[in-house]
């Protein structure tokens, strides 16, 4: 059985071809991804949703180059992915800040890691710190920040390297509901400003509808077929608008929820 969500075509920013990945757990082999095909357009925002253990984080880690697939390949602008690459940046669920560096040091770290001179990296970093609204906290240490602020630093760090593809692994999952909604607004704004391709893994259906052009619904049962759902709502989106609510109802039905 092949899982054909959407045939990859020429000109896709990201093309996933026949991707399979399984894990060995206690002597048993668990297939997580089976023959997945998917094309993601440049500048598109794609959300991947599904229950825990459905392989959505694995898919993101393969796209990031942190995991090698068992079969198939990922092409970025037509070139096969072999490991991590500087055209991609990841925003992790935990902010993963270096606790000994200030906010400025952490945000400029991404550029400095690839050899950009400190002064230039810091100038870029300051710009993006301002974008996420943390300018007054430039010299604070991560230990002094709240969860939402720390995640903003992680977002600024990823944006500073100006990636073509932004990979987000449940970036707001650890935040409280109010902070999460504020951050969703900010992510929507930043994505539109940066014009990057955004691939977002989330377990929050509302977050997926709010941010994505298309939602990839990972199947609940093993061997099921992932489905793609278009979110053709105007932006900026309104969570309480009738079409938004209808879309949420439809997406919930995909998981047998009401």
């Amino acid at each position: 059985m092949t899982m054909v969500a959407h045939q990859a075509s020429r000109g896709d920013a990201v093309a996933i071809r026949g991707l399979s990945k399984s894990f060995t757990l206690g002597g048993k082999t668990l297939p997580v991804l089976r023959d997945l095909n998917l094309g993601i357009r440049a500048g598109e925002s794609l959300a991947i949703v599904g229950p825990s253990g459905c392989g959505k984080t694995t898919l993101l880690r393969v796209l990031a180059g942190l995991e090698q697939p068992d079969a198939g390949q990922v092409l970025i602008d037509g070139h096969p992915v072999r490991g991590v690459g500087t055209e991609r940046a990841i925003i992790f669920q935990e902010p993963r800040l270096l606790p000994w560096l200030t906010v400025l040091g952490n945000v400029s770290f991404g550029l400095e890691a690839r050899g950009v001179p400190k002064a230039k990296a810091e100038a870029e970093a300051r710009h993006h710190i301002r974008l996420v609204g943390l300018a007054p906290f430039e010299n604070a240490l991560p230990g002094q920040l709240s969860g939402g602020m720390a995640q903003r630093v992680g977002i600024a760090r990823a944006l500073t390297v100006q990636p073509k593809i932004l990979l987000l692994d449940e970036p707001l999952g650890a935040l409280d509901a109010m902070t999460r909604m504020t951050m969703q607004d900010e992510l929507a704004r930043l994505w539109q400003e940066q014009q990057a391709t955004m691939i977002l893994v989330t377990h929050d259906l509302e977050e997926a509808i709010f941010l994505a052009d298309r939602v990839l619904v990972m199947p609940r049962e093993k061997g099921g077929v992932p489905r793609l759902i278009d979110i053709d709502l105007p932006r900026p989106r309104d969570r309480s608008e009738a079409r938004f609510v209808a879309m949420r109802r439809r997406l919930m039905a995909e998981f047998g929820l009401h």
Partner: protein, 277 residues
Amino acid sequence: MTLHSVDTPAKGRPFPVAAVSRRAAVGAQGFLSRYGLLIAFLLLWQASSTRGWVNPAVFPPLDTIMAALWKGLASGALLDDIAISLQRSGLAFGAAVVIGIPLGLFMGQIAAVERALEPILQLFRQTSALALYPVFILLLGLGEASKVFVIFWATLFPILLATIGGVKQVDRRLVEMARTFGASRLTVFRRVVLPASVPAIFVGLRLSATTALLLLIAAEMIGANKGVGFQVMNAQYNFQIPLMFGAIFLLAALGLVANAVLVLLQHRLCRWAEATR
């Protein structure tokens, strides 16, 4: 609007004298709660000795001890002892730092090396340096070399093991983060692994500094004719009990100073670790 009256400051300022004395009282209370027992201990010592509750020949009064200590320092004799002791422990500690930290950083990074060396390290560490001192004397003679080496041996392992432990417990997720931004192995080491290990390394350094002084005394008690440890033994042989206690207090002071210096350095380098805790 009765609430306003609550917030209005009282007309007459409170007597500054009262405020100052209150602050002084709080300060004194803090001082007493911290050093009260120590002061009581010293007072008890002084009283027991002067009133003959204990044999003053064995436990001389503190003022006699301080006088003997001052005499030794003023004549320069004890200063020479301090200098030679600091030279021995300083050389050994310095060598342990210079060898232990880089070796630990290397071993902690490479699992195969660490696995191969770990059993022999454990064996060496569990073998008391004092038990090996006769071996070192056989190998290096009864001079400075064997003394410095036995201290070096004892101080190397806390530093080495703490450094290995520090490197191994670096958050792998931070390393992964750095890799995704295109950091090379060297950059990951320099910008992530090394700074993350510093707090653990300091634990080893402080442990080693204490060990250095401990071993210094033992080394100087055997076949030395100078040094603070030698003075303790020598004064006891000659029944100069006040001088003996003076030298013991001097050793305690050296230990306190060494620890204070390291704590200061630690605060400087690992302020972030305190912020996270």
